[in-house]
Amino acid sequence: MFSLVLMTVNARYDKVNLFFESVVVWFVSPAQNFFTSVANSITDVFDHYLFLVEVSNEKDRLLLEMVRLSKKNNELLERNKLLERSSNLTEFAGEDERPFVVAKVIGYDATQWSKVIFINRGTDHNVEKNLSVVTDAGVVGHIIHASLKSSKVLLITDSRSAVDSLFQETRKSGITVGTGEDICEMKFVPTSAKVSVGDKVISSGLGGVFPKGLMVGTVVDIVKQDRELFQDIRVATSVDLSSVEEVVVLLSGQEEG
């Protein structure tokens, strides 16, 4: 009964932030921070190792030695990369008049079925529901729940996500919806519209969540059927959502970024 009440309340009054949800997120976010840092460190070790395998033996030997002897150097390298990514993000977000905040991805959805990430910025940093989340490569998703120090971001690949979009060249519009997989579909594009593989898809600005002109993805597959009104268009997201580490939340008010 309790679960049915929860589901009904959640489905009908979507804007209500339940107290328990915030409490659990508040408790878990420090652990998520910790585990993400550890996981990133392990991934970095593997990445560096695999990279070294591919270069010449001489470089391989020197780099391996360097990695082994100089842990500090590796840390600085990672910090440098982080600064570089942050710099790209702030530069990109700074082009717009809107205030923004840079956030780090600290976790993923606890279930198999939703495409959600957790970021380490919440209402303490003026993050609120329905704000758009982007990187310099394009749209990531939007905030669906904001706690004090962390927030949930619904990715554009989630099956409940929809972004009003248009083709950059032809300006034909459609709606980019998530499929639950790592790819999106563009709906409501008439069969008469000329679309080619490789066409860029950008946000149209309609809908009030995503500003106009953000890169959504690239067309990778088109299926036209004579008797159908609309084309089946598959769009690869411009952001690699499986490995995104830092994002920018575009704030709504006049707060400073």
Binding site: V24, D109, A110, S159
Partner: protein
């Protein structure tokens, strides 16, 4: 009290691993559900009806850390806890094959509950073909992980029982 705090700490540890490490280890679309395996374990090994409530509670925590409909996992994990709590005396859930089989079946039910809840309450916003294509792999993935996880849970349970003797679990 210490016992309860330790159990809750373990649940939060499991949730943290579910939302961080697993995506690194399983970078594809299919990720095992540690919470589902823990819920089944609780249903089998906790005494009386405690398994139902603990399973439902960890399902609720999972709901809070998910972008899905709040209450879906509370229901599905609670039902898993209830099912195994009721039938635990009538079946044998020991060994790799029985554990794998029951976890596989529970995973299918869990996926179906999610699908039905999302389609009925959110008006068909979930693509069925995606769900059905991945649900089998999801079940297999859970079934493969489950015996190993059950082994770890057994060890933790034995350690807890030695350090803090209580009547919470079935006899070891």
């Amino acid at each position: 009290m210490t016992y309860l705090v330790l159990i809750i700490a373990l649940v939060f540890l499991l949730l943290s691993i579910q939302t961080t490490f697993l995506r690194v280890v399983f970078p594809g679309d299919i990720v095992p559900d540690l919470i589902l395996i823990a819920a089944v374990y609780c249903g089998i090994h906790l005494k009386k009806s405690r398994g139902i409530w603990v399973a439902a509670l960890i399902g609720f925590f999972q709901d809070c850390l998910s972008g899905g409909l709040l209450g879906v996992n509370f229901l599905s994990k609670g039902l898993a806890g209830l099912f195994f709590c009721v039938i635990k005396d009538k079946i044998i859930v020991q060994g790799i094959i029985p554990i794998g089989f029951f976890i596989f079946a529970t995973s299918l039910v869990d996926g179906m509950i999610y699908f039905l809840a999302m389609t009925s309450l959110l008006g068909g916003q979930v693509k069925g073909n995606f769900l059905f294509s991945s649900i089998i792999l999801f079940g297999v993935c859970n079934a493969v992980i489950a015996p190993f996880l059950f082994y770890i849970f057994d060890k933790v349970r034995q350690w807890l029982h030695r350090k803090f003797p209580s009547q919470v679990f079935e006899s070891i």
